[in-house]
């Protein structure tokens, strides 16, 4: 049955309209979770507020398990779902640059749009930075094209990479998440938090 658009159950235009509604749900949930606040987001790196870790990993394991179950029921063909391509060096370097941007800027791109939507000026300035950053990458592209395309591995699933079943890998992620939640609850009690 799913994905609906790939199986031509809905049209491309309907797909774009639904993208808008998916975005509304995404933005609403992020804001309700507290992702519009840069001090809440940065809190996870100091232990005083671990909302990022809790929402992000609960979201990731919910989505991962949900998709595995939908696949098991035959409601979605995971072979037709987009899996990101892996370019190993570019992925690591990009992640490191993004991590530095996260601790300096206090937002990531999705959350900055959320913050800007409710009037956070730091989020708006962060978005200006995002546009500048993408523009810099685009203009300098010939300089780092080689690095960008190095280490291509296709679109592997991590379970294939470790040669274990998808369900078993998912179980490991769930265990890791529960341990992190436990650590997060402990850290929030240990580190004082101011009002913001």
């Amino acid at each position: 049955m799913g994905p609906l658009v790939v199986n031509e159950i809905i049209s491309e235009n309907t797909n774009l309209l639904l993208a808008f509604f998916i975005g509304i749900a995404f933005g609403f949930v992020l804001e309700q979770g507290g992702f519009s606040s840069s001090r809440k987001l940065a809190g996870v790196f100091y232990g005083y507020d671990a909302v990022v870790l809790k929402v992000f990993f609960t979201g990731a394991i919910t989505a991962m398990l949900g998709l595995l179950f939908l696949s098991l029921f035959g409601w979605i063909d995971l072979g037709l779902v987009y899996v990101n391509e892996t370019f190993i060096w570019s992925a690591i370097i990009g992640g490191v640059i993004m991590g530095a941007g996260f601790i300096m800027g206090g937002y990531c791109p999705g959350t900055s749009f959320c913050g800007a939507a409710i009037g956070k000026i730091d989020a708006m300035i962060f978005i200006v930075g995002l546009f500048l950053g993408v523009f810099i990458f685009a203009e300098g592209y010939p300089l780092w094209e080689g690095l960008y395309k190095a280490g291509f591995m296709g679109s592997p699933r991590i379970s294939e990479f470790f040669n274990i079943s998808e369900g078993l890998f998912a179980l490991f992620v769930v265990i890791a998440a529960v341990l992190m939640f436990w650590g997060a609850e402990w850290a929030e009690k240990k580190f004082p938090r101011e009002e913001y």
């Binding site: 799913g2 994905p3 609906l4 658009v5 797909n15 774009l16 993208a19 998916i22 975005g23 509304i24 749900a25 933005g27 609403f28 992020l30 804001e31 309700q32 979770g33 840069s38 001090r39 790196f45 929402v55 990993f57 919910t62 989505a63 998709l67 939908l70 779902v81 990101n84 990009g94 992640g95 490191v96 640059i97 993004m98 991590g99 530095a100 996260f102 206090g106 937002y107 990531c108 791109p109 999705g110 959350t111 939507a117 409710i118 009037g119 730091d122 300035i125 962060f126 930075g129 546009f131 950053g133 993408v134 203009e139 010939p142 592997p156 699933r157 379970s159 998808e166 101011e194 009002e195």
Partner: protein
């Protein structure tokens, strides 16, 4: 005051489950998932094509983008989705009475310092999201949902680096 403020956000685990359901819905409907940086890339390509069409035809980055995409760059799934994020975030702010002009930072620094670092952080995140082929949403969250190797690498690199640098930038936040 502090009690009211602390309880005003949704329980993070419930918010996480809802977030997961959004990702499942996106995959079920569209065979793909949420992302943010891709929409910014589309906007940059569209802007350059409008302002400097000759440059867009010659420069490699824009040429490669056009080869992979047909039609107006702004007529894309991620662009509509990000417009939705603005609407959804705003609606949530209305419902929870959080609409206010504000700059958040540690009391130890000035707003100006915060904004300079916000700009710098945005620039870095913009550059990094291109190398990473997606940001925290598009690469890490969406990638992990479909067990993408790249998604897990992005997640570990982003959070690992932020943790490693947290001490150096502590004055911004605590």
């Amino acid at each position: 005051m502090s009690e009211i403020k602390k309880s005003k956000y949704m329980n993070p685990y419930i918010a996480g489950v809802l977030l997961g359901l959004v990702v499942i819905a996106a995959n079920f409907i569209s065979g793909r998932s949420v992302g943010a940086s891709g929409a910014i890339k589309s906007a940059i390509v569209a802007s350059v094509e409008t302002v400097a069409p000759a440059h867009a035809e010659n420069a490699l980055f824009y040429k490669e983008f056009t080869q992979g995409h047909s039609g107006n760059p702004l007529n894309s799934w991620l662009v509509y989705q990000m417009l939705g994020v603005l609407v959804g975030g705003f609606l949530s702010g209305v419902v929870s009475k959080r609409l206010t002009w504000k700059v958040e930072h540690s009391p130890k620094i000035q707003s100006r310092t915060r904004l300079i670092f916000a700009l710098a952080g945005g620039v870095l995140f913009g550059i990094g999201s291109q190398f990473g082929r997606g940001c925290t949403s598009g690469s890490a969250l969406s990638g992990m949902a479909v067990l993408s190797l790249g998604g897990f690498i992005s997640m570990m690199a982003i959070f690992g680096t932020a943790f490693a640098l947290a001490y150096a930038f502590r004055k911004l936040w605590i």
